[in-house]
Symmetry: C2
Subunit: 215 residues, 2 copies
């Protein structure tokens, strides 16, 4: 019975890693849809969001079910509670990829991102994908060193986010409000995506060490 | 022992109601700071965010501790898991009030909200406060009827949010990008605040009925 229990615990961790993989792919595709004005890919990301949501619901049901059946003690209980929280972060990261795909779809066939801001968004997207790929490894390997590294990526995201605002506030900004509003929201989606990735890292760190990480 | 256990369960619910009260006050004050350009109130809201955060940490610790000590069965376990999720929603609502106060502080002594948009923001703020006050009652009374009503308030918020975008996109918009960016973010903070309030309502509904609400 204990073996089956530990298999179920492992399976929960495996599903979290799977969620992180789906979220990472969704964000990569959302960026592609955004920068290339690719409607088909945007639709694909939007459709895939319900897959991530369903995975989260099933995972949370299994997690609570395991709590109820096995009455886990301190360490395992902490793992299961952390799983509920990490799945919520990952689900939200999927939503944010979805939001980016929706901006791409709304502006199609035009491009939402003007040429001057392309480079910043590309860089924000690279950081976002790096973060979500690292998150999968952090969960899989319970790797606290990598969890701490997420903080540096998040700092890079914050710097890019500020650079984006500086560009938007340039008095010589040649675009209208619509582009400024789109870019404000897009910037916020990438930045929040990074915040949730760091949040997963913090939860994993706490789970492994029992201490709060200064990430 | 069972009596003490049920007292502890009740105390968790009481703390959630207290959190909702603090969040509601924070949002009311954040709006006041924003619309009146009141720096002292803005600072107060910003300082009070850590009170809400600390309350959440303590509450979550107590909740997990109760899970570990009492090995609750299905119904109580569901209550405790829902408490963890509701506290996360409420904590995030506090963050969003904090973000609004920070915009007020950043623009002080100027007003962030231009006259033309004052009415929309006032209305969004009224909906936000109504939602957070109802959320406290929903948790306190486990009132599923009121939980469902949150959906109508959220619809009102969405309509106001769209009206805000329409105003920002008016070709005759007399303000620059800075105001448009501020207003885009402020609008999003109110709208997300409403989303989290509805999320609390959904969790409570599920807790009481075992069904997912169509809110």
């Amino acid at each position: 019975m204990r073996n089956q229990y530990h298999e179920e615990l492992d399976a929960i961790s495996t599903t979290l890693v799977e969620m992180a993989g789906l979220v990472s792919a969704a964000m990569g595709n959302a960026t592609k849809a955004l920068l290339e004005g690719n409607l088909a890919i945007a639709e694909e990301v939007i459709a895939s969001d319900s897959v991530i949501d369903t995975l989260q619901h099933e995972l949370d049901d299994r997690t609570v079910d395991l709590m109820a059946r096995q009455q886990p003690v301190a360490g395992d209980l902490r793992t299961l509670v952390a799983s509920l929280r990490m799945s919520a972060d990952l689900e939200r990261m999927g939503d944010l990829a979805n939001h980016i795909a929706k901006v791409a779809r709304m502006r199609y066939p035009a491009l939402a991102v003007p040429n001057e801001l392309r480079e910043i968004i590309e860089k924000m997207a690279v950081v976002a994908e790096t973060l979500s790929r690292k998150v999968a490894v952090v969960i899989r390997d319970r790797d606290i060193e990598k969890a701490v590294q997420l903080g540096a990526d998040d700092d890079a995201m914050d710097i890019l986010h500020r650079r984006l605002f500086t560009a938007l506030l340039d008095p010589a900004w040649p675009h209208g409000n619509e582009v400024a509003i789109d870019m404000t929201l897009i910037g916020r989606y990438y930045e929040r995506f990074a915040d949730h990735a760091v949040s997963v890292g913090r939860r994993l760190y706490y789970l492994v060490t029992g201490e709060f990480a200064d990430i």
